[in-house]
């Protein structure tokens, strides 16, 4: 499908490094990177038994709804969302127009510190995502076929997925 999003090993490692550093530098509990369509890209920190799949989907829903609100009142977007709880807080921001950076922090950190660290991490992540886009385009131009799991998929493979 031409509009598929891809993630390569090298860039994935870079992303993991950036969010791990952000988590440390911001004294945060957890950091997540989520696709705007609700799919989790990477995470770091004290994940514990948090349901990260649901977190990704709800974050994307939240961002989508807030974007809709912004457009209703004539704003392009609200690039930062922040939710304050009794113990934990969530800071949500958009990176490179298409991914969502989520930082969860408690009293060991502060909104100011998180905001500061997110700014730098966002720039680094933007570079990584631009590099992915360039790579995909280069591959397309050179006619490089990715090692797609689907090129050789058979009807039997698909049926097997549904076998009890």
């Amino acid at each position: 499908m031409s509009n598929s999003v891809v993630m390569y090993e090298a860039e994935y490692q870079q992303i993991k490094t950036v969010i791990a550093k952000l988590c440390d530098d911001a004294n945060a509990k957890m950091v997540f990177l989520v696709d705007k369509n609700g799919q989790q890209i990477a995470s770091h920190g004290e994940i514990g038994n948090i349901d990260t799949t649901s977190l990704a989907s709800l974050t994307a829903g939240n961002v989508a709804a807030t974007d809709g609100l912004a457009r209703l009142i004539g704003e392009k977007e609200f690039p930062v969302l922040s939710h304050e709880g009794e113990k934990d807080n969530i800071h949500i921001s958009i990176v490179a127009q298409r991914v969502i950076l989520v930082v969860i922090f408690d009293e060991r950190s502060s909104l100011g510190l998180v905001r500061l660290r997110v700014k730098r991490a966002s720039n680094e992540l933007t570079d990584v995502f631009e590099s992915i886009v360039r790579k995909v385009e280069q591959h397309k131009e050179q006619g490089v076929e990715l090692d797609s799991p689907f090129a050789e998929i058979t009807d039997e493979d698909i049926d097997n997925l549904f076998r009890e």
């Binding site: 499908m1 031409s2 509009n3 598929s4 999003v5 891809v6 993630m7 390569y8 090993e9 860039e11 994935y12 490692q13 696709d35 705007k36 369509n37 609700g38 799919q39 890209i41 349901d51 799949t53 649901s54 989907s57 709800l58 829903g61 989508a64 709804a65 974007d67 809709g68 076929e145 990715l146 090692d147 797609s148 799991p149 689907f150 090129a151 050789e152 998929i153 493979d157 698909i158 097997n160 997925l161 549904f162």
Partner: protein
């Protein structure tokens, strides 16, 4: 929009259940959730009103297994069916890979089916998709009720492009997995085409 992660060898696809209010979209997801092995599913998230009407969406992540070494996950979403939630429906269609239209077979819901199908086509268009081209399945739900329209007539009114059609009684599970399987298969075939 399928997300292929070569680093963690995962593929994530998004399927949206669309249709008129009280047609059984959430019931489809609920049945899938109730009957799927715990290791294959995540939490079923329902953003609903106090009276259990879907307010924003229901969400169920489902892991089907591996295809050629890639973990294959389907994220199932429903939209709120009630007419005035249109802004939310548009948002949920973003990045969709396949659509299931859950029609209500009852005579008095025919207009609502037609309205909702029209709404689906328009909202897909607004997101840059064409119903004629994306993976799509029609489910005719509530076949166990007395006041229903015949299959032939429903098909004549609601079929758009020779899509697979399934009779369903969603709360009993009749047709639920056939529907899911048919749309998932189309999504995977579409991926295969894209990579060929």
């Amino acid at each position: 929009m399928t997300f292929i992660n070569y680093a963690s060898r995962e593929i994530n696809c998004k399927i949206v259940y669309y249709g008129p209010g009280l047609g059984g979209k959430t019931t489809n997801l609920q049945y899938i959730y109730d009957t799927t092995a715990p290791q294959a599913k995540g939490k079923l998230i329902s953003l609903a009103t106090e009276t259990d009407r879907t307010l924003f969406f229901d969400f169920l992540p489902l892991e089907l297994g591996t295809v050629r070494g890639f973990k294959t996950r389907f994220h199932l979403y429903t939209v709120p069916g009630q007419v005035f939630y249109d802004a939310s429906r548009k948002l949920i269609l973003k990045g969709v890979d396949g659509v299931v239209f859950v029609a209500d077979s009852q005579t008095e819901r025919m207009d609502a089916n037609i309205e909702s199908l029209w709404n689906l086509e328009n909202n897909l268009k607004a997101q840059g998709y064409d119903l004629m081209k994306i993976p799509y399945v029609l489910q005719l739900n509530k076949r166990d009720l007395p006041n229903i329209i015949s299959m032939d007539e429903l098909k004549r009114e609601l079929m758009r492009k020779g899509e697979p059609v399934f009779e369903a009684v969603a709360y009993k599970g009749v047709g639920v997995f056939d529907t899911l399987k048919a749309v998932a298969k189309q999504v995977l075939v579409e991926l295969k085409k894209g990579s060929g």
